[in-house]
């Protein structure tokens, strides 16, 4: 019991994932700054932002649903926290995994967008509602290719247990080094971009159009929790990619792989313009959908 609480709160749960996630947002901001030929923020910047937001006043707008508005950020945080704990424990102790844990993780990863939708819709602000509806549309867009990309890994290894997927990769080499694995990795990377709402897909919070979208009315602690959830997601999604497609997190090489994926995400973020919501949906359903189906067929054939 105490071990489970330590797992959830300290390592590899809230404190560990949150600390590394905030550090990753610093990497994101620093790389962005270097691309724009400037110095960028100091290393403690995300922590200073987080502490400042925690200690500021929290407003609930007049007429907003108080319970939904204040509980929504924690819903997303709980989802990411459980996912990070499960993924890390299963990477280092594959025997802890159970049948269908990959499905549990997929559903828990749907909680952060759900929390954003609930929070944005309960804020009673027209721009927040627009942001929430865009988040919903985007969510329906990227979930199809994401599920097919995960299904490719499941078909190639023939198992619904993350522990067995990792062991299979240890025996026969990572899934990424095959045709269907490359397609799954590519699709997963682009979906990661959308799940983090980074630039080509930052449609829900488009700064220049709807200010901050669903986060518009949030301040203080609630906003800090949303920022923390985003930072933790930035850590958890690349870990999930490495776990199911690139050989697991247990070897020291996985840190290099992890940094490669993070820098790739930041580079995509910095070299692309924002899409419209209809363009994004078309891209996910037609472009990535067909690509991931080709990958699925290749996986079924055995390539």
């Amino acid at each position: 019991m105490i071990k489970a609480i330590i797992n959830f709160v300290i390592y590899p749960g809230l404190l560990f994932t949150g600390g590394i996630g905030l550090f990753l947002t610093w990497i994101d901001r620093k790389v962005t700054a270097r691309i724009q030929w400037r110095v960028g923020p100091p290393i403690y910047q995300p922590y200073a932002d987080f502490i400042k937001l925690l200690l500021k006043e929290t407003f609930v707008p007049k007429g907003a649903s108080k319970v939904a508005f204040l509980l929504a950020p924690f819903l997303g945080l709980i989802g990411v926290n459980v996912v990070s704990t499960m993924l890390f424990l299963m990477n280092f102790h594959p025997d802890l995994s159970f049948v269908g844990d990959i499905i549990v993780i997929i559903y828990l990863l749907a909680l952060p967008p759900l929390s954003v939708i609930i929070g944005g819709a309960s804020a009673r602000n027209p721009l927040s509602s627009v942001g929430a509806s865009r988040e919903m549309t985007l969510f329906f867009g990227y979930e199809l290719p994401f599920l097919i990309a995960v299904a490719i890994a499941v078909i190639k290894t023939g198992s619904l247990k993350i522990g067995e997927i990792i062991i299979h990769q240890k025996l026969y080499g990572p899934l990424l080094y095959s045709f269907s694995g490359v397609i799954a990795g590519l699709v997963f990377l682009i979906v990661t971009q959308a799940k983090l709402t980074f630039v080509p897909f930052d449609i829900p919070e488009a700064e220049q159009e709807i200010m901050a979208g669903p986060y518009l009315e949030y301040s203080g602690v609630a906003l800090a929790i949303f920022k923390l959830t985003r930072a933790m997601l930035f850590f958890v999604l690349p870990v999930f990619l490495i776990t199911i497609l690139w050989g697991g997190m247990a070897s020291p090489w996985s840190i290099v792989k992890f940094l490669v994926i993070v820098v790739l995400i930041v580079l995509i973020k910095n070299t692309n313009p924002r899409l419209r919501i209809d363009q994004a949906l078309k891209f996910f359903w037609i472009g990535l959908g067909i690509l991931s189906l080709i990958g699925l067929i290749l996986a079924l054939v055995g390539l």
Binding site: Q45, I51, L53, F59, Y218
Partner: protein, 137 residues
């Protein structure tokens, strides 16, 4: 120095309140936020909502029409928050002070923390003023 003050000093997010300016100061503020001057070194970010802001950059002359709006934006900002008056107009109404419509300078209605004079002030001046204000918190 408390951790609250440290956080506020190291990451002041600014919201730009343009209250009837001639746009000169606003152009200079936008210039100060470009990569050339790189205010992210000090943790300064431009945010789109007063709910996220720690500092309000106010420009222009306060008049009967926009005074209630500016006060409302100030009320919507979570405290503690700084008010930074950018430009000569924001520091004092000057040649407009005898107008029937002008309701007086900002410090008559809001607690102003730093005045940055100039018509318009250069980006370097704005950054120096903000950094000085953060130092003296």
């Amino acid at each position: 120095m408390g951790i609250k003050l440290w956080g506020l000093k190291k990451s002041p997010w600014v919201f730009h309140v343009a209250a009837a300016p001639c746009n000169n100061c606003d152009i200079e503020i936008l210039d100060a936020l470009t990569p050339r001057f790189d205010v992210e070194r000090f943790g300064i970010l431009l945010v789109g909502s007063p709910r996220h802001a720690d500092a309000l950059l106010v420009t222009g002359i306060l008049n009967r029409k926009n005074l209630p709006r500016v006060l409302r934006v100030y009320e919507q900002t979570p405290k503690p928050c700084l008010v930074i008056a950018v430009g000569t107009c924001a520091c004092h109404p000057n040649i407009f002070s005898v107008s029937y419509n002008v309701t007086g300078p900002y410090d008559k209605h809001l607690p102003v923390h730093v005045y940055i004079p100039g018509c318009p002030p250069k980006p370097e001046t704005i950054i120096a003023g903000v950094v000085k204000a953060l130092k003296n918190l």
